[in-house]
């Protein structure tokens, strides 16, 4: 087992990793930028090494300085957290070349899954469903019609060279498909000098559902259930929960099996998340992409499975076997996480960094707060605006929402504007309560309502 781990990250995830390391008796080394000098992880880690100035490029993304710090502190492994260098396969390779273990998958697996197109073809080969459509560009109107009839309307016509909405058309029936294809091809030819278009299923009412997997270096991969992250604003997750209120036990089982299939096909180990889009109309799920790192919302899975995912990451990175099999995984109750950001949600969610005055986080049964903030802390403008992740765990979804409502109401953060008020309104909205939402709900309905 590792004796000393360097945490190449900051904020709440650095705190989170310190906590587990301390419970495991592992020493922690944090690297930090001058902007984070007064942060909690710097204070709480066993060793803290400054690696550069505020801008991430010169510090948290500065591979040379991070490796130099790791050698200086003589660590056995590096935990990259999420964001920053966590999905940088080059960094992972450099770390391993220095005989330091990278707590994550191999660079090869990261490369294979990090590229969306490569990942999609890998998924297809492994038999994991992807958004159905034409196999490459359609050549004739007849071909397009045949495909549309097979996968069902509505369909999307997309220029292969496209971007920015040009060369894209939605078709609801045969007529609009034929005319749409002609228009799209013309538009694509004019814009990109390439008229090739594909046809694929259009998911109109989508949920974002992802499967947490973890694998060891001995080829074992286990799925730890799903997280439903359909409450998004501009593709940023705001609320995550488990289990998903919209899928059946059979679908869950199938999604888990498919996620494991994909991970195994990629020779994947450590924690990863297989993201799917779930089509509420077709009642089908399609592979989107895989995140090859721990995710912000991992506590949701921890609450319902009782596992410590950071611990499992460290265990498998050090060569250990997974201590459970797929059939050992049981989930209990319902967990919801909301992200409390320093943002003025009533003003386009504009960032609101600055000094926190009074700060009182909620507590009590079933309530967990993952945060690096405290009264007197100044949120630097250099990084993301996250103040805290508030996670609740109840016997069922209704109880979890009640717990969340109570916890939000006792959360006191003075100084920066926060998204607490947004979440309070959201979780009392009857459409959220009944989970009758899609990934567009917040942008197109809730914030306009």
């Amino acid at each position: 087992m590792f004796k000393r781990i360097l945490i190449a990250n900051r904020g709440e995830i650095a705190m989170r990793i310190i906590r587990t390391c301390r419970r495991m008796g592992i020493e922690t080394v944090v690297v930090y930028s001058t902007a984070d000098k007064e942060s909690l992880p710097v204070r709480l880690a066993d060793v803290a090494i400054c690696i550069g100035p505020g801008p991430a490029k010169q510090s948290y993304l500065n591979i040379n300085n991070i490796i130099a710090a790791a050698e200086l502190a003589d660590v056995d492994a590096i935990h990259p957290g999420y964001g920053f260098l966590s999905e940088n396969s080059h960094f992972a390779q450099v770390v391993r070349d220095c005989k330091i273990e990278f707590i994550g998958p191999t660079s090869q697996a990261m490369d294979a899954l990090g590229n969306k197109a490569k990942a999609k073809s890998l998924a297809k080969k492994a038999g994991v469903p992807v958004v159905p459509g034409s196999d490459g560009p359609v050549k004739t109107q007849e071909e397009a019609l045949a495909i549309a009839h097979k996968i069902g309307f509505p369909v999307m016509i997309k220029a292969t060279a496209g971007g920015g909405g040009r060369g894209m058309r939605v078709a609801q029936n045969d007529v609009s498909l034929v005319s749409g294809l002609i228009q799209a091809q013309r538009e694509a030819e004019a814009a990109f000098g390439n008229s090739e278009c594909i046809v694929e299923a259009l998911v109109q009412r989508a949920r974002h559902i992802e499967i947490q997997v973890i694998g060891d270096t001995h080829g074992e991969v286990v799925a730890l259930g799903e997280r439903d992250c359909s409450t998004q604003r501009r593709h940023q997750k705001l609320v995550e929960e488990s289990p998903s209120p919209v899928i059946t036990p059979e679908t869950r089982k199938q999604m888990c099996a498919d996620a494991v299939k994909l991970a195994k096909a990629a020779g994947y180990w450590n924690a990863g998340t297989v993201e799917f889009i779930y089509d509420l109309d077709r009642k089908a799920y399609y592979f989107l992409e895989m995140n090859t790192r721990i995710q912000v919302e991992h506590p949701v899975t921890e609450m319902v499975t009782g596992l410590d995912l950071i611990r499992e990451q460290i265990m498998v990175a050090s060569g250990g076997h997974l201590p459970f099999k797929q059939e050992d995984i049981r989930t209990q109750g319902h967990a919801i996480e909301v992200r409390i950001n320093a943002e003025d949600w009533q003003n386009g969610f504009s960032p609101s960094p600055g000094k926190i005055g009074m700060y009182v986080a909620p507590s009590g049964k079933g309530v967990r707060v993952d945060s690096h903030c405290y009264a007197g802390y100044t949120i630097p403008p250099n990084y993301d605006s996250m103040i805290a992740k508030l996670i609740v765990h109840g016997d069922d979804r209704a109880e979890a929402i009640r717990f969340l409502d109570q916890a939000l109401s006792e959360y006191i953060i003075e100084g920066p504007k926060t998204t607490i008020g947004f979440h309070q309104r959201l979780i009392r909205d009857v459409r959220f309560v009944h989970s009758e939402i899609t990934t567009k709900f917040v942008d197109e309905t809730f914030l306009r309502g």
Binding site: E27, V31, T34, K37, E38, V42, R43, L44, A45, D46, V47, A48, I49, C50, I51, G52, P53, S59, N64, N65, I67, A68, A69, E71, L72, A73, C98, A375, G376, Y377
Partner: protein, 156 residues
């Protein structure tokens, strides 16, 4: 003036958390200033790698040494040469050679003042552009570990 008044005033400052007092007389001019409610902890010493006591320390949280503020600082106008990278400082090119520089050495942006070894690479450290003068103080020792921002030399 009576020293007692000073004592009284410093006591007042302490009791009332004042950071600035100005008194004048004939007839009266007072200015008092409070600590801006600095509830934060004192930042970890700016050295590299502060090891926290892993065992429960009865009196933990090593008090940061009182910064030498009040002293008339002969180095106040010096420019700093800082470490751009975490690593190990070498003050001489090899164990048998003389130091790259010492107090009194003339330096500018073209002069190598030390090496910092990181990832087996010995990086030549030169003063930033615009720094020119003589070394007034050497703040690191040969073989010392430094982090980003550690002040190596003062040049004036």
């Amino acid at each position: 003036m009576d020293i007692k008044i000073l004592k009284e005033i410093t006591k007042l400052m302490k009791e009332n958390d004042l950071v600035e007092v100005e008194v004048e007389s004939e007839d009266l001019k007072i200015k008092l200033k409070k600590a801006s409610s600095q509830s934060q902890f004192s930042a970890p010493a700016s050295h590299l790698m502060h090891h926290h006591a892993p065992a429960p320390a009865p009196v933990a949280a090593a008090a940061a040494p009182v910064p030498e503020v009040a002293k008339p600082d002969e180095f106040a106008n010096c420019k700093q040469v800082i470490s751009p990278i975490p690593g190990t400082v070498y003050l001489r090119p090899n164990p048998d050679a003389a130091n790259f520089c010492q107090v009194g050495t003339q330096v500018d942006e073209s002069k190598v003042v030390c090496l910092i070894e990181a990832m087996k690479v010995f990086n030549e450290i030169k003063p930033d552009a615009g720094i020119k003068g003589t070394i007034k103080k050497v703040l690191v020792q040969d073989g010392q570990a430094v982090e980003y921002g550690t002040v190596l030399f003062l040049v004036g």
